[in-house]
Symmetry: none
Subunit: 154 residues, 2 copies
DNA sequence: TAAAATCCCATGTTATACCATATGTATTGT
DNA sequence: ACAATACATATGGTATAACATGGGATTTTA
């Protein structure tokens, strides 16, 4: 039994005419032990799709049940929004899923989909949008963390 | 009970046409008990590859797996980028990994790769770049800590 | 019954597992 | 102390398996 599981790497796969995409095999192997489906939903703040294990959402649900912190209430509401949007996507024996029109539209995905690992979850982007987003994050990081360079070799 | 493990020493190995390199055996023995793979990603600030155990990154992921942070934008973007950049590199029975084109290019590695231990993680450098970097680090150390000078000639 | 979703097979490409050889280091025996 | 041997590691080459992807057949649904 393996308790370390992380969605990593950035992989670009094709979306065919039927809306089918291969889920990267690394991602599949994370899920395989447990089931043969992942959960996807529209990102709350970005033009991309987010995906994770059902197990992960279950953990969040448990969190909310036990939550007594009023400050986290706003975030809990967001989490509940996700439950309303999320849907299971089973993948077939060749490892492909069929994303819904709603999700594809939200992320402006047509021919190609970029899978971006985010640890316990991952995102699916339109290639051009992801390129911009990545550039934005890197620029931000350098601006806000000038100390980065000196920290590197401590 | 915590396991003791440190990546140490500096070792130069050859990179063949396919991008294959032997992971130094010392490094392998550290990982072996747990699994047979390491995680590598581009250094955020230096022209080198960084490597560590998946466990190390898993700690980052576990920290933000709660109902307050999971869908929050406040998530450290930089930390998040690492997951998208990182990838598992399993090594075979002969102890080799196959570095990706992206990583090799970032570190300007062609024929040879220098593995540099950094404790919980390690770096992989182009030999010439590492020589310069090491000189720079040593010069810095002497400048900032004059007391080291006297030890130099012992 | 038409349209859509699911399943299954075929293919080119690429990564992976495996075997073989070389190189270097430690060990043993005389 | 030296040579001979055994051992571990690094490296080169190749066969095999896995993957992404296209196309078609079968089942489901509206």
């Amino acid at each position: 039994m393996r308790k370390v599981f992380l969605f990593m790497d950035t992989i670009c796969n094709k979306v065919d005419g039927k809306g089918r995409v291969s889920l990267p095999s690394d991602y599949r192997s994370i899920v395989k032990d447990l089931s043969s489906e992942i959960v996807c939903y529209r990102s709350l703040s970005l033009p991309c799709i987010e995906g994770c294990l059902e197990e992960t959402l279950d953990k969040l649900a448990a969190d909310i049940e036990n939550s007594t912190d009023f400050f986290s209430e706003a975030q809990d509401n967001l989490t509940n929004l996700v439950f309303g949007d999320a849907k299971r996507f089973p993948f077939d024996s060749t490892g492909r899923i069929m994303l819904s029109e709603k999700l594809l539209k939200h992320a402006q995905i047509t021919n190609e989909a970029v899978f971006v690992g985010k640890g316990r979850k991952f995102q699916i982007w339109n290639p051009e949008n992801w390129a911009k987003e990545e550039a934005r994050i890197r620029a931000d990081a350098l601006k806000n963390r000038p100390s980065l360079r000196s920290k590197e070799n401590e």
